[in-house]
């Protein structure tokens, strides 16, 4: 065992972390910041010009980009909580990466602000969430204000309460992220088990708040885009999707970090295997949730809920629309391909193969986000006419700008967080067991 004195280690570890990560690989902090600033600037430019022109598409770009990165951070938070609650030993070696991820919430909260100020500065407050504008025409005649469904739901769907919930959601994520990071970093310095126990208790209690927050986020930000529609399963879908995204990102991070620098070789085959097994499990879980939701709505065949899937399949005239292909690709490419791929042992342990499937899942996760956010029932030009138009699938320049911009800022923040602490939770009681983890 090491004979180093206790006192030296804390200062040494920080100094070491600063030098080592810089020395070990190229520093991407500045490039990430530049990409982030340029991307967000372009996306926000689109956001506000689109808004003044009455074009909602750039606003959707922003929501999609933000949701994508947010889902990753949320998934990472859940992973951290779950690992603590189950007292899982093997993932200790990758927990530091999760801790950098869950530090992103304050940044993401700031990036959410443009969406919040829309109803106050625009003459069509419902440009994104249509219920925010009482005068807006709805399909089937009348306006939001005369819509009995809206009137019923207005106790929940109103702007002050909406803002309150946004604050609650981000407060839960940010506070929990802050506390868990702090306790873990403290642990590095002092090695005091009280930190560890406290982190476990915070996780056990925090997961309830997280469940509430993630459900609200799913209902408010995605489901309420078509506020007529409802499904009790929806919050669970967002959880499952976030977990898939976060597992993929974590896998990419650890494989990349482990292929170079100070962490070289420390994430071994067994870690990859277990992480890939989790990816497999959540692929199945995501499919289970998505399939069950579809299956129940399909079988019961009640129009008040089937319309949500209808517009994701057909136009008003019954012809297949672009979403039909997206739906199929979600079934076959987002579920079946990863499912079959991850059945095979080699695909779960070979670094390159796991990288491939993680990137693949992430790509289709983005498509899943599109699928849940973008399709909408738009009234015809002449509201007296019967029918509606479906907002079709498209990838715009602003989508890419928002994704790259928000992503750039997230990566910048992530890399800055990485420089502050050692790359592993060095005093965690399970760190050695985790490093020695084998199949």
């Amino acid at each position: 065992m090491s004979t180093h004195a206790q006192a030296n280690s804390s200062d040494a570890s920080i100094a070491f972390a600063q030098t080592a990560s810089v020395r070990a690989s190229r520093d991407y902090t500045m490039p990430a910041l530049i990409v982030g600033l340029v991307g967000t600037a372009i996306a926000l430019l689109g956001f506000f010009t689109g808004m003044s022109a009455g074009d909602s598409r750039p606003l959707f770009s922003w929501l999609i980009g933000l949701s994508f990165w947010l889902s990753i951070a949320i998934g990472m938070l859940f992973m951290t909580l779950i690992f603590y609650i189950f007292h899982a030993k093997w993932p200790t070696v990758l927990r530091r990466q999760l801790e950098h991820g869950i530090g992103l919430f304050p940044l993401l909260a700031v990036l959410f602000v443009p969406l919040l100020i829309v109803p106050f500065i625009h003459d069509d407050p419902g440009i994104l969430w249509k219920w925010m504008n009482a005068e807006r025409y709805i399909v089937g005649g009348g306006s939001v204000a005369t819509d009995p469904l809206f009137l019923h739901k207005s106790a929940y769907l109103n702007i002050p309460f909406f803002i309150g919930r946004v604050i609650f959601i981000f407060a839960v994520f940010a506070i929990l992220g802050y506390v868990l990071r702090r306790l873990s970093f403290q642990m590095d310095k002092t090695g005091d088990m009280a930190n560890f126990h406290r982190a476990r208790i915070f996780s056990a209690i925090g997961i309830f708040f997280c469940a509430a927050a993630v459900t609200m986020a799913a209902i408010d930000w995605f489901k309420a885009l078509e506020y007529h529609w409802f499904s009790t399963m929806y919050g669970v879908w967002f959880f499952a999707a976030s977990m898939r995204a976060a597992l993929s990102v974590t896998l990419i991070l650890i494989v990349v970090l482990a292929s170079r620098g100070v962490l070289k070789g420390l994430f071994n085959q067994a870690h990859r295997y277990d992480l890939a097994c989790l990816m497999f499990a959540f692929t199945v879980f995501w499919a289970y949730i998505s399939f069950s939701q579809y299956f129940l709505i399909y079988n019961a065949n009640i129009p008040e809920v089937t319309f949500w899937y209808n517009i994701r399949e057909k136009n008003f005239d019954g012809s297949l629309n672009s979403w039909w292909w997206i739906s199929l690709s979600l079934i076959f490419l987002h579920f079946l391909v990863p499912f079959l791929y991850l059945l095979f042992y080699k695909n779960k342990v070979t670094a390159k193969r796991t990288l491939f499937i993680a990137a693949w899942i992430l790509l289709f996760h983005l498509l899943d986000i599109y699928f849940n956010i973008l399709p909408g029932k738009l009234p015809l030009e002449n509201p007296a006419e019967l029918g509606y138009v479906v907002r079709q699938f498209s990838i715009t320049f602003y989508d890419i700008a928002a994704l790259a911009g928000i992503g750039g800022l997230c990566i910048w923040s992530y890399l800055r967080s990485m420089k502050r602490v050692a790359p592993l939770p060095i005093r965690d009681p399970n760190i050695s067991a985790s490093l020695a983890h084998h199949e």
């Binding site: 399939f291 299956f295 399909y298 079988n299 059945l343 042992y345 084998h438």
Partner: protein, 176 residues
């Protein structure tokens, strides 16, 4: 005298068995096996065995199950005796999914069990080793290695010495 099956040696505990197995593997023996009352972590690798092939049987079972399920529903509800119920289609990939799914798991599970038996060449109710009382204690708390005489490297005296050298005790000759 009856034909010889091989030599059986006893080892003290798990680590002893593990290291002995590595040595037998490195000595180049092919027809031999370890015996322990529990599955030991990493022992297959120490014995020079690769990953088990049972998954192949599982995969075949699962694949058959899925298509049998879908085909069965298609045959019964669309082809052989179409019956209109609740205005639902006679066949669609959606509603038979639970059936196909359950059959996938059912046949995959049977495949797995059969695969385990096939790969272990079981059932095999008689085996020369069962003649040894010492061997019968394995299933409670003993650790053994048996090297078979059919191994090309086998030589009663040399192998006995080798087993002793790697820590084996109570070495017995097992007869067919």
């Amino acid at each position: 005298m009856a034909k010889q099956f091989g030599l059986l040696a006893r080892f003290k505990d798990t680590p002893d068995l593990f290291h002995a197995a590595e040595k037998v593997r490195d000595a180049g023996y092919r027809k031999w096996d370890t015996f322990a009352p529990l599955p030991i972590h990493g022992l297959p690798a120490a014995q020079g065995l690769g990953r088990s092939r049972v998954p192949v049987f599982t995969l075949i079972g699962g694949f058959c199950g899925f298509w049998i399920g879908l085909l069965m529903v298609w045959y019964m509800n669309l082809y052989d005796y179409p019956l209109l119920v609740g205005g639902m289609p006679f066949f669609s990939p959606i509603f038979p999914f639970p059936i196909a799914y359950e059959l996938t798991i059912l046949l995959a599970a049977f495949g797995t069990l059969i695969g385990m038996f096939v790969m272990n060449t079981l059932p095999q109710h008689y085996h020369p080793l069962f003649n040894s009382e010492q061997f019968l204690a394995t299933s409670s708390d003993q650790f053994m290695i048996a090297i078979e005489s059919s191994d090309p490297q086998f030589n009663t005296e040399a192998t006995r010495l080798f087993l002793e050298e790697i820590g084996g005790t109570d070495i017995q000759v097992i007869e067919e």
